[in-house]
Symmetry: none
Subunit: 201 residues, 4 copies
């Protein structure tokens, strides 16, 4: 019932089927493929290979399960922001990590899209997004400023405006698309973004 991260860490390789995590993963995939509109606790339980009552043993309500999914998604996203290296390295690292994530992990973006749409109706989630967005904007802007100061970026830029455009573009790219990501389009956008920032190739 308490923090199972520790247990998992101690026990190394899947000591027992961690139901909690399995349920969150199943819900995550269901949301990615069917949306919140199509999220059924019975399906999640079935996907995780447990009885529906077991789901409620770990998550008292559907809402609680959704909270679990939100935490999971946010955590994955936060991992794309690097924290070491020069400004240029960090900026390029961040953009490339995002580019790869968009191409590799469509499920994550599908879920993030669903979360964004849900936010206006979910105060907690709205708060989470608000903070996460503000932090992302500040981080990006500061990286751009550092690049400008070291001559690694176009010194005509307004760092705030550029950060806003980059974030909007990445948000737009991350929206789920039919038949898989259009890799060409993703590359185009990131290429144009780097060019706009004046980063070295």
């Amino acid at each position: 019932m308490a923090d199972q991260q520790d247990d998992a860490a101690l026990a190394a390789e899947q000591p027992r089927p961690d139901r909690r995590q399995a349920l969150v993963a199943a819900a995550f995939q269901r949301i990615a493929s069917e949306g919140f509109e199509g999220l059924r606790t019975r399906d999640v339980a079935a996907d995780a290979g447990v009885n529906i009552a077991t789901l409620h043993y770990y998550f008292p309500t559907k809402e609680a399960l959704i909270r679990g999914v939100i935490g999971h998604a946010m955590q994955r996203f936060a991992a794309t922001i690097p924290s070491q290296g020069s400004g240029l390295e960090q900026l390029q690292g961040h953009l490339r990590a995002l580019s790869r994530l968009i191409k590799d992990d469509q499920q994550l973006w599908a879920v993030m899209g669903e979360l964004v749409l849900r936010a206006p109706r979910d105060p907690d989630l709205a708060q989470t997004f608000h903070q996460s967005d503000a932090f992302w904007h500040r981080t990006l802007r500061d990286l751009i400023v550092r690049c400008i100061m070291t001559g690694a970026a176009n010194d005509q830029l307004d760092a705030d405006d550029a950060a806003a455009l980059a974030i909007a573009a990445i948000r737009g790219l991350s929206l789920p698309t039919v038949g898989g990501v259009d890799v060409g389009r993703v590359n185009r956008v990131f290429r144009q973004l780097e060019r706009m920032l004046g980063l070295p190739e």
Copy 2:
């Protein structure tokens, strides 16, 4: 509930109160505020002031009603693409129309967001978006090319890449946000977009 004879008598000459349109409008607003997740045919019927059975008289299924909403939304969106004037005028006109639309008509964007997320699970809708996107991309690219050729835009640009970035950014901006649109952010993004394109202020 009462006196419908009278109403009918009075309205005899009128072109008939278009229930269809009223129902689509009601569904549109419901989707904007509650999302597809919270769309209930009964609510739509109630908002339109008709019995639930009447809704099914005009739209045999919930899906049919949703088709109606999709058509309505797409039509409103298409109206932002201008078709007359010089390349620069059209490009600036388009961008400004979008900027205004995002700030003025949040409902439309909320619905568009819901539609985008729905597309992967709705082949028809996916097709619609695919065509609309391709058309939008071509239009934007051609306008940029014309601006470059008339010296009104930065001649270093790859028109395809720039169009892709612009579209992605607008898509990203259009996602619904909590507590209303952040006007400053929208302005920042469009300003940076115009600057990137090298358009005169």
Copy 3:
């Protein structure tokens, strides 16, 4: 949806199967035989010959259905208090009506018992019982006083005490018993009650 008494009155002999009433009747019988503990909306719907969703069409919640049953039971009980005739006639009439009701309509008493037990957990019901009890006590006491004044009852009685005892005894008799009412016991109690009051046989 509005008052159906009028409709029924106008249409005389069961013009159409009054679902509302049928559902209340079915719930009443279920409570009588299974208690609140065993009251299942599905059973009630089945007994009334309708789908479970139809039950919820008439009574939005189980609680609403229970309110309907309470109203029904209270109404039946109130009918035992006569309102015309001399004090002695009314008092004897009341006691005999109760005696007959206890012997004839065990279901009513089973339901009343369930309601009494439910009252401490249902403020509305508690209020209803409180008023009904106070009214019953006053009515009975006044009847006894009138009988004493006309020489029809034992003039040594404290009317309040006698009314309290009568009510308690009737309450006790009304508790459901196994294998049908013990008619001998009921007769004994009413006989002793009349004797105590000093009423002529």
Copy 4:
């Protein structure tokens, strides 16, 4: 949840904390406050401070637990019937013990009420009540007869009828009421009962 080794060590010599009794006591109180309708084994286990599985170790089924409660309640009730002294002393003693019990131990009466209502659906319980009632009636009748014979009671009485009325009245009084027992009412009823029997004050 922790340190049960220690507790066990400390309690080694003790006659063992009787879980059985604790569980019955907890169930008794739950039934008194929530009724059978609201009786949940999990709540009982929680109140007794044990795991739900532990409850089932002592009582294989909910029914078994309920049997335990029935035994407990019946035992408490039987204790009000005195067995020594003159007829008058015993009769008065019994009535006064009941009067006090009703006023002091509302929980017992709440549970008895629930049991009475349950009896028609529980053959065992019905049998128990049947025997208990018959015994009570005989005891009371015999006491009344002895009082009449010693001149301590009204010699016009039919002892059987009087006993039946007394039992019915006490049953009626014992039904749970809202906002606590109405002491005035209880006193009134017992006073009138003694007066009817012609007992000396």
